[in-house]
Amino acid sequence: MALPETVSLPPARADFRDTTVGRLLRRPSALLGLILLAGILAMAAFADIAFTGDPLDMAGMPLLRPGEDAAFPLGTDMMGRDLASGIFHGARVSLLIGGVAALVSLVIGIGIGALSGYYGGRIDRALMRVTELFQTIPPFLFTLALVAILQPSIATITAAIGITSWSGLARLVRAEVLRLRNSELAQASIILGASDARIIFRHILPNALAPVIVSASILVATAILTESSLSFLGLGDPNVVSWGGMVGAGRETIRTDPHVAAIPGVAIVIAVLALNLLGDGLNDVLNTKGERR
């Protein structure tokens, strides 16, 4: 049926409402995601001001319930560490590791995907084999092994997560590049003798940006989950506080004081939820072609 095409509406005013950001803000779920994310960013930014002192130090009576002592609104754990302070400082670690790890996998994923899709042939086959390999090795176990061998620190955790989580993105970028490489624009540039690098960076990658942006937000979310899982297992950087580590420490007291494990978990859920909501929103807004229900 060639019917929907005939419904061509007069162009609306090109104002803020129609920009990507404007359309994003009009979606309640994406807006909620942005607000939550802004909240976590603010927690990370003001952690030192709101809670002076090391969050790993004993600050008060151990195992205070939330609300029991006004100085510790979220209570304390069995070592007397302030949970609220841990949540604020933990936001830093989560966002830092999540963000940088996502960046690492973006660089690897885009690089491999672009080379593979652009050059095709033997390079493509070889790179895709490697990608398949990385998809086969259980990523979390792989990360675990890497961190265990390299000794846990913020840098090694970030690198390990980045190295093990790019395979899906590489396939996505490859598919996009394959599609765009055969577009008229890219073909014209090839005929005009533009260098490969120029074609890839000027003509192909910018057009493949939409799906990459969407996966970037999901990558950050996944990286935060992985980091929290590592530190839950005790493979976090021992010198910094982390939400996953806080849940792990709270395990000891779930029979008597389940809030110690519960509260940092809620923080993880909110951070990951915020990024997923944002990713879903971006997907809807940027992928207008698939959204014609």
Binding site: M1, A2, L3, E5, T6, V7, S8, L9, P10
Partner: protein, 335 residues
């Protein structure tokens, strides 16, 4: 061709209007369309893509997809207004009293069900017969639409069949309930020329033998001219001319119809491999739904248009064997 006086029309459409619900209001896509078909008669609805003909076909079975919806009129099948029925009652009509075949035989069949299962389903959903009986009937239907080796084809999946074969399967499926009306929405457009002729011949034969009324939707006037009794020409959601086929080809009254006929390749020209060769193009395109001119929608493309055409929509007028809606009806010989 069909019995001229005989009976009441089996399908009577009156004042059918269809629109698209958008954020900026309702955009009318089909306006005040009326026509009727008698048993054994074949009516072609012809127009360019976007004129509302496919939407009309879907509306007959109550299948207009949102945001489109029927905004007025009646569709009477054997005396009963289908638009007044609820979904459950309408479902019992579809595939039983009126059925439909579609343009794309490649995508119109479910890829994960066998051909036989899909035809049997059309029987089993309407009649309380055993699976065995339904299977027998399905095999007979496959034979009826001249699919060789029905036993084997019955168990085959659609992707194993050619386009022409799939369209035969679609026809078999549509005939399963021995419907009074068959709506065919461009059933030959996606097929090769030789297959087109076979499928058209098959539909023609079936309606003669079974007395099924056929509403044949097409953009290609030439394809159907040999088979249909009457032609209804649509332009931008309205009927502009409706005539007996012979009269229409002998002397089109609407300038748009004339353009359509002139745009057909002459018989035999196809042999030169230039089957799509346009002998006379109609300049311009169909106006967008949201930018419909106040007067005759064809006026911007019409060589005869004058001030009256731009201001007022021409009402349908009786003309010989049919109707025409043009201020300058009959002046086309001047072109």
């Amino acid at each position: 061709m069909s019995d001229p006086v005989s009976s009441e029309p089996v399908l009577a459409v009156d004042g059918l209007s269809i629109g698209f619900q958008t954020r900026r209001g309702l955009l009318p896509a089909v306006r005040e369309l009326s026509f009727s078909v008698r048993s054994g008669e074949m009516l072609a609805i012809v127009g360019e893509s976007g004129c509302g003909k496919s939407l009309t076909a879907l509306a007959l079975l109550g299948l207009v997809p949102p945001p489109g919806r029927v905004t007025g009129g009646t569709v009477r099948l054997e005396g009963r207004d289908l638009l007044a029925l609820d979904e459950a009652a309408l479902r019992r009509v579809r595939g039983a009293r009126m059925s439909m075949i579609f343009q794309e035989p490649m995508t119109a069949l479910n890829p994960v069900l066998t051909v036989g299962e899909q035809i049997m389903e059309a029987i089993l959903e309407h009649e309380a017969v055993s699976r065995k009986a339904a299977r027998e009937r399905t095999l007979a239907l496959l034979e009826r639409v001249r699919i060789p080796d029905p036993e084997r084809r019955f168990a085959e999946y659609p992707h194993r069949l050619s386009g022409g074969m799939r369209q035969r399967v679609m026809i078999a499926m549509a005939l399963a309930g021995a419907p009074a009306v068959l709506v065919a929405d461009e059933p030959t457009t996606a097929l090769d020329v030789t297959i087109q002729a076979q499928i058209l011949g098959l539909i023609d034969e079936l309606r003669r033998e079974q007395g099924t009324a056929v509403v044949f939707i097409t953009h290609d006037l030439g394809v159907v001219s040999r088979y249909v009794d009457r032609v209804l020409v649509m332009y931008a959601g309205r009927k502009v001319e409706e005539r007996d086929t012979r009269d229409l080809f002998a002397g089109p009254l609407h300038p748009y119809t004339r353009g359509l006929i002139a745009a057909q390749p002459r018989a035999g020209a196809g042999a030169a491999g230039a089957e799509r060769e346009r002998l006379a193009e109609i300049p311009g395109t169909v106006p967008a739904l949201a930018a419909m001119p106040p007067g005759c929608a064809f006026a911007p493309r019409c060589p005869l248009a004058d001030a009256r055409c731009v201001q007022a929509v021409p009402p349908p007028r009786r003309a010989g064997s049919g109707l025409v809606a043009c201020h300058h009806a009959g002046e086309t010989h001047a072109l």
